[in-house]
Subunit: 359 residues, 2 copies
């Protein structure tokens, strides 16, 4: 799960670490010994991310030659955000999730909005409220409609989760990033829980989209798994019909990430990332095609991962069909595995959070 | 216009400056002489912004005692972004603009969305593509519907401007900021042009809001005017009916900023900021009421400022009723003045940009 085929990066105690098994290697110390590039002596991954694929690849090769001795047990580390987030974008790229959301929120509208199969729908989120796995989630206060459809203020009564996969941009760009350049710019992946207050979101969202219903907290996993660790997990993403415009054409590389959503230890579902309609390469190409800059530390997420059956739904909205949501004290955990080389299994760490009462 | 009653801050040549008349005082040099706080020796305003109102007030008092000699002509300075932008939020707080946009975009819907008078509608924008006044604006490519309502890709044919006022957060917060605490957290104001590609925006915007239609560029003025310079410009903002929920109640302080929108030197309109329905204090309170962190360098904008008559409309969408938009080569300039003490006039600098052909 965390063998030499994985080697994800994290941050704790003001320095960077690479995980091996249940332990972690202090990269500042390794850099001081000359074993790894000095950009890994920084407190966050940003300088390393900006270094680009040649640095990522050579570092990975070096790390695999090290003896992983004198490791610090990961249980003893208080993990922090592994990189400084620049801009955060959240997509909406699971066809089944979009269908479910349409049926629940817009029962009179077509199943998918007319644009959905032509471009990866997304929106900007709040970079400043991204938190690392393990951070408590305080139930947000906000404005929503009461039983009489009157605006009211108080703790959200429909606090939800969204099982997602996030992609971390390393190499910046001042202009469009072609789908074929995805691997030159994106370093790795995290798991992400896009906590959502459905009542706040529902009331505020027309016409400019989600805002306070999402911006109170977004959790990411502590460990960033390099794309290089997911070579054996590459699969062919779903065929797109109708065909997409040329700037969105790609080689259909998807990733067979097998997510698991747990509430207080009970498995709620196993969302399949391999079924996502829009790929991460398409998302990045779309996001930058208008000339928007990409910066080191940009994070973009897939949107809720949901498959066709209830066992594959990635939110309580869908699992309980807008019926029941999180209680105070609930702990939600998203984990994932992926096929590794030679029959091994790559773990993506986990993203966990416990709901605390509103202030 | 830029007398002792104004004293806005800007950045150029890797250091900070305070403007006086047509010249600017080098604050790094002033800090080296011990005349101002050393946080003004930094290359951007962020450390000074984080210092909070006591620092802002004492610095302003000190600056007003200096002899403004050996100034650098502002024409000789290449201005850069005066602060590092953390999160960027754009509101939609002009009632007339919202009415006009509804009539044009949603002719079959009610004039205002049902939520509009209950909360300040807003969305997160892309912090990484905020640029300083003077930066060329490359016409964005993107996806839009052609005459046959089929998706097509190419340069936007409906490139627009939005006249806005932006507020710069200095003091961070881990939780809600009450409307009464506005002045403890917000340092000053900028003018802002939220360039908008109406064709891209129109096609992408349902259901998650504006994304690529806005994220290619947002321009801000070079000079940040302290709130302290706008004391004489305070007016009573419009009465709100129906009454707002308690967390949004405020003292109705608005600002009499008189904007002017020019295209190639011709005045198109004079949008009146004093008519904004939602105040900057309400926007900040709403934005953080769910527990969202505020960070030093957060920038939030008012949304297009429009008054009741065509002469007061703040976008071409409204001025030409979705008819004609910007041509390549057009230079758009937004400037503003405000009443200062004792009959003086405060200038807010300007935000300008020239449209370049799509790449």
């Amino acid at each position: 799960m965390f063998g030499l085929e994985n080697l994800p990066f994290g941050a704790a105690e003001g320095r960077l670490w690479v995980r091996y098994g249940d332990g972690a290697l202090d990269l500042r110390a390794a850099a001081a010994r000359g074993e790894v590039d000095e950009r890994l002596a920084e407190p966050t991954l940003n300088a390393f991310l900006a270094g680009g694929r040649p640095l990522w690849t050579s570092t990975r090769a070096k790390l695999r030659t090290l003896r992983f001795e004198d490791l610090t047990p990961v249980d003893e580390l208080t993990m922090t955000l592994p990189f400084e987030v620049a801009d955060y974008v959240d997509f909406y790229s699971s066809e089944q999730h979009a269908l479910n959301a349409s049926k629940i929120f817009r029962p009179d509208a077509p199943d998918l909005s007319p644009n959905w199969k032509h471009l990866p729908i997304g929106y900007h989120g709040r970079a400043g409220t991204i938190v690392v796995s393990g951070t408590d989630i305080v139930r947000p206060n906000g404005q929503w409609l009461d039983a009489d459809r009157q605006p009211a203020f108080g703790p959200s009564r429909r606090l939800d989760v969204e099982c997602e996969v996030g992609f971390v941009v390393g190499v910046p760009s001042d202009g469009p990033i072609a789908t074929s350049a995805f691997r030159e710019h994106v370093f790795g992946v995290v798991l992400l829980n896009d906590w959502s207050a459905r009542d706040i979101q529902g009331w505020e969202t027309v016409p400019l989209g989600p805002f306070l219903g999402k911006s109170f907290a977004t959790s990411t996993s502590s460990w960033v798994v390099p794309l290089d660790a997911l070579e054996a997990a590459r699969i062919t993403a779903p065929t797109q019909e109708p065909p997409v415009l040329p700037y969105l054409r790609d080689d259909r590389t998807g990733y067979d990430l097998r997510l698991e959503l747990r509430r207080n230890g009970d498995v709620l579902s196993r969302p399949p990332f391999k079924k996502m309609y829009w790929t991460a390469a398409q998302q990045l190409a779309h996001m930058t095609v208008n000339g928007a800059k990409a910066r080191t530390g940009d994070l973009y997420a897939s949107g809720t991962v949901s498959g066709e059956t209830r066992e594959e739904f990635g939110s309580l909205l869908e699992l309980n069909w807008n019926g029941a949501y999180l209680d105070d004290g609930d702990t939600v955990t998203i984990s994932a595995t992926a096929p590794g080389p030679d029959g091994s299994v790559i773990a993506l760490g986990e993203v966990a959070g416990t709901v605390r009462p509103a202030r």
